[in-house]
Point group: C2
């Protein structure tokens, strides 16, 4: 049984303020919870229905202690419109950023991605293309927002996410000869540009692009050319997650 206090506590984790205070977040559903448990992250508690335990959990190789709850109880703590049969509460990790970490890697840097779903999609792309580190400006959406957690489909647990003032990161990296590729509408055609197998890919927010204060750190401005054939108006931008997908694909294709 889940007590009223537990329900209240778990529901509070919808809010960033309480996630920060307790250092905990919520994961829901088979795929996300399974990936979480297999990731080795510290899981604090797991709630599942008896049906889920019998049909799914019993076949998982990695085990964890859990509590059986009724579907009705699960509904009370679920944040989804269609509640899944398993919910886990886990600790938010606090990876420490060091410039050595990304020196020889391809790294995604996000400047003001505010939509939780977009952020989740971008983390999934980072995972798919093997970018192990994502650096977010402090005004990005919170990666442990339930919407982001769901949108990552488990990729959240396979990518290091750092929240840091991006200027600070650039200062730490200065003199280390790390190329910085910024996606700008005025950038050169990415298909024709020389791309390094390491460096930073900087993606700006959809509404405002890359902040002015970061422009001086860009060593190569890149853009995805439009092939729009409509005679009049054209698409004037791609959304940030789409741009990230295409850019990461192009870097990896050549590596």
């Amino acid at each position: 049984m889940i007590s009223k206090n537990q329900i209240k506590f778990i529901s509070s984790l919808q809010q960033k303020k309480f996630r920060k205070e307790h250092g905990l977040f919520i994961a829901e559903g088979e795929k996300v919870c399974r990936d979480l448990i297999e990731s080795g992250w510290v899981v604090q508690s797991v709630f599942m229905t008896e049906e889920f335990r019998k049909e799914k959990f019993s076949r998982w190789t990695k085990k964890v202690s859990y509590e059986i709850v009724s579907e009705k109880e699960l509904e009370k703590i679920s944040l989804l419109s269609t509640p899944q049969q398993i919910i886990a509460i886990a600790e938010i990790p606090a990876p420490v950023f060091k410039s050595e970490l990304i020196r020889n890697e391809l790294t995604l840097m996000l400047d003001g991605i505010k939509d939780p779903g977009n952020l989740g999609t971008i983390l999934r792309i980072a995972d798919w293309f093997g970018l192990g580190n994502v650096i977010c400006s402090e005004n990005c959406a919170d990666a442990f927002n339930p919407k982001t957690v769901q949108a990552t489909m488990g990729s959240l647990f396979r990518v290091n996410i750092f929240y840091k003032p991006l200027r600070e990161v650039f200062h730490e990296l200065s003199g280390k000869n790390i190329p910085v590729y910024g996606t700008l509408l005025s950038g050169s055609d990415i298909y024709k540009q020389k791309l390094s197998s390491h460096g930073i890919i900087l993606i700006g927010s959809e509404s405002h692009g890359i902040s002015d204060e970061l422009l001086p750190f860009i060593t190569s401005a890149i853009s995805i050319p439009s092939f729009s054939n409509s005679s009049g108006k054209k698409a004037d931008s791609l959304n940030a997650a789409m741009a990230a997908a295409i850019v990461c694909s192009e870097f990896r294709r050549r590596s």
Copy 2:
């Protein structure tokens, strides 16, 4: 002033049933309404605030008749959580599919994309990469769903969208030597595959992929390779919109 009946009528257009019955849909906000009006589509009515008229609409080159309403009135007909200052009601076009239309073109075909936001994003990609025609299975989300309309950011008005049973389309195209590229996890590496400058790119639904009944029509199965470097579990799929973005980019890059 907007009458109660008008409010009721406009609100009804949130539902597919009423959009179909009246052949009308709703567009909201500066970007989407401006692109709609410039598209030449038949606009039935436009509501805007006086402020919007003065500051924005007065500078538009293409004019249209409109009604001035208060912000409060606009709120009543808006479907958005943050209502925009302009709303337009327009006719849903009914383009007729002919195989000649796509014979020498690159065309996107969507099998069961059910999320309205994903569909909108994909239409935006089609527009960006100059794919003028998108063929949707009948169980795809409705392109005139308000969420889709908003997600397309105006691209909806620059792409022909056909809803048709996909089997039927393939039968119409048979013998016309049109390559069909299907995105399948088991497909060959798209980066190494020969790609034609015309043909069909078939994208399956995220949860079920491409329907079994369509598999026989695929002439080349393609996949986007994963570069995931995590030792254990990996990302096991990209979402459908991401896949569409990367695939379209790869086709256009080579054309």
